[in-house]
Amino acid sequence: MKDKLSSVLNRLKKVNWGNLFIYLILISLSFIFLLPIIQMVSMTFMSTSDLISPEVTWIPREPTFKNLQVAIAVLDYFPTLISSILYIGLLAFIQTIVTGLTGFVFVRYNFKLKSVLYALIIVSFVVPIQLLLITRKLTFVQMNDLFGIQMMSTMGPQLVFGLLGQGVNASIIILIFINFFKKVPFDLFEAAAIDGASALQTFWHVTLKISFSTVMVAFVFSFVWHWNDTIITNTFLGDSVTLLNRQLGLFDSLFASRGGGDNDINEAYKMAGTLLTMLPILALYFITQRQFTQGIESSGITGQ
């Protein structure tokens, strides 16, 4: 009897209670974090009877794909998906290159007003975007009034922003690049200069070739932030390129024309739509995950 008790106690002692406790907290927190997504997924497959029935909370009794079908129709999913990926991909690509180059210049060279310009990077991040958008909009409207070049409701403004390094959260990406490039030993730059490399050659051979994971981080962040942005898109792009997030925002009004005549709008359709909108980003993340996590850890997004 005593042996059994002491052996049980010994086993209990071997359990790592500290870690168990940590697991408990983390699992509870994960549940809270994932709650909206779990609700969304479960609602997507609920038929109307499930939605009304008070007994059904997470698992639908009568699962259906109808919600997905309706959502696909309302969002015009596949064409919208392709145009979104192409457009956002283009913007993310441009932003990665321009911000990478800018970050490189800040690390490689010592130039006049460097600290002033560095402060400008921080200012452009801190200043609320709504403030800047008013004038940006006025600028493009005036361009139309004065020169007859209509750039509102086209891809133009966002392309201009991207090429000039002012895309969504571009300053953060510049800072990420600066932080990573600082880790390149300066001797490499000097050696490249002695070997007669031009600035762009140095950029490519010395910095870019070793920073693939950082470039991946920059691209994924640029993609995600542009994808999720609705303010700039709604102000400047309008309807010229159909984007998934914008369509989702317009779901209720689109439903009337595309949703099928006899259906009433209900939450499940919207949940299905939201899930469909999330899928591309999740896919991108899982594809690039290893490089991305490596990049986050090594780039050391740090304090100033």
């Binding site: 210049v105 310009l117 800047l132 390094g165 030993p185 200069a193 999720n228 609705t230 997030n245």
Partner: protein, 310 residues
């Protein structure tokens, strides 16, 4: 790493190359950041209307400001925003610090948890935030203000505190979804604290509580400032911010007086800057207080040095 400067290439050549490569970003920044800030500040002192002939600027001095601050729509939204920041920020900072601390311990499946906590960063967008409302009130799942025993207890002691807790819990999902990037920042900060510091503390017999307050937390102060700045900007850019509607109106074309809109936008920016300044002040690095004996000894040593030199 010691900073090395390149002494062989002349500084003027550096300037030329640097500015040449920097020109896209510099042009963009001047045109789309610096110019807008200046122009907005100028606009706040004018009534700006558009008519057939173009833009009319009519100087009105501080009229726009007086109108804005006496307009209940605006100042109530502004106060709501300030309260939102004041409640969200501490929760975000503490929660992300906690989660970061938990995530660097030696447990299995760290990768899974990191993915889960990073997911919100990928998914946060206005349209998805709207759907949260439709997905049901999660806060109500966890805490029902009137029926919950603990909340009623707190309520009888301090209604303000009870209301505060209820509002935090009902927005808890939103708050937690804002912790995505702060968690990463804190993980990096925690990893930078040297292991040997902890070992030395153990050798000196410090309790975990002491270690927390004397070693871990002070090292995270500067990161906490960065996290706060980032969170303030993030909170402002989503539509559960009370000022959001007011600020977006001029962009979607439903406002006619851009001077007034500029005033709203600029006042909003001032609130943001004030908050950032406040946080930077609260979390500044303070000079350590020396004990009285130590100070006396230092004073004596200084006096002796002066004597010896003289």
């Amino acid at each position: 790493m010691a900073k090395q400067t390149n002494k062989k290439v002349k500084p003027q050549e550096h300037n030329k190359i640097a500015f040449a490569l920097l020109s896209p970003w510099l042009l963009g920044n001047l045109l789309f950041v610096v110019y807008p800030i200046i122009s907005i500040i100028y606009m706040t002192f004018n009534n700006v209307y558009k008519d057939v002939n173009g833009w009319n600027y009519e100087w009105v001095g501080l009229d726009n400001y007086t109108f804005a601050f006496t307009n209940p729509v605006f100042y109530q939204a502004a106060i709501g925003f300030i309260l939102q920041l004041a409640t969200f920020l501490p929760v975000i900072i503490i929660a992300s610090m906690l989660i970061a601390r938990l995530l660097i311990t030696d447990i299995n499946h760290k990768g899974f948890f990191r993915v889960v906590f990073f997911l919100p960063v990928l998914l946060l967008s206005n349209s998805i935030m709207d759907s949260f409302g439709a997905a049901g009130d999660v806060g109500a799942l966890m805490i029902n203000g009137n029926e919950n025993f603990i909340i009623s207890m707190i309520n009888s002691y301090s209604p303000f505190l009870a209301e505060l807790l209820v509002s935090i819990f009902s927005d808890l999902i939103s708050i937690l979804w804002f912790t995505g990037i702060p968690i990463i920042l804190f993980i990096n900060a925690l990893n930078r604290i040297d292991e040997s510091t902890y070992e030395a503390a153990h050798v000196d017999g410090a309790t975990p509580w002491q270690i927390l307050w004397k070693i871990t937390l002070p090292n995270m102060k500067s990161t906490a400032v960065v996290v706060s700045v980032f969170s303030i900007v993030q909170i402002g850019s989503f539509n559960n911010n009370p000022l959001y509607e007011l600020l977006s109106a001029p962009l979607t074309g439903s406002s006619s007086n851009f001077g007034l809109a500029a005033t709203y936008a600029f006042s909003y920016s001032l609130i943001v800057f004030l908050f950032i300044g406040l946080i930077a002040y609260i979390l500044r690095e303070k000079q350590p207080k020396l004990s009285l004996v130590l100070r006396q000894n230092m004073a004596k040593a200084e006096q002796e040095e002066v004597k010896n030199e003289g």
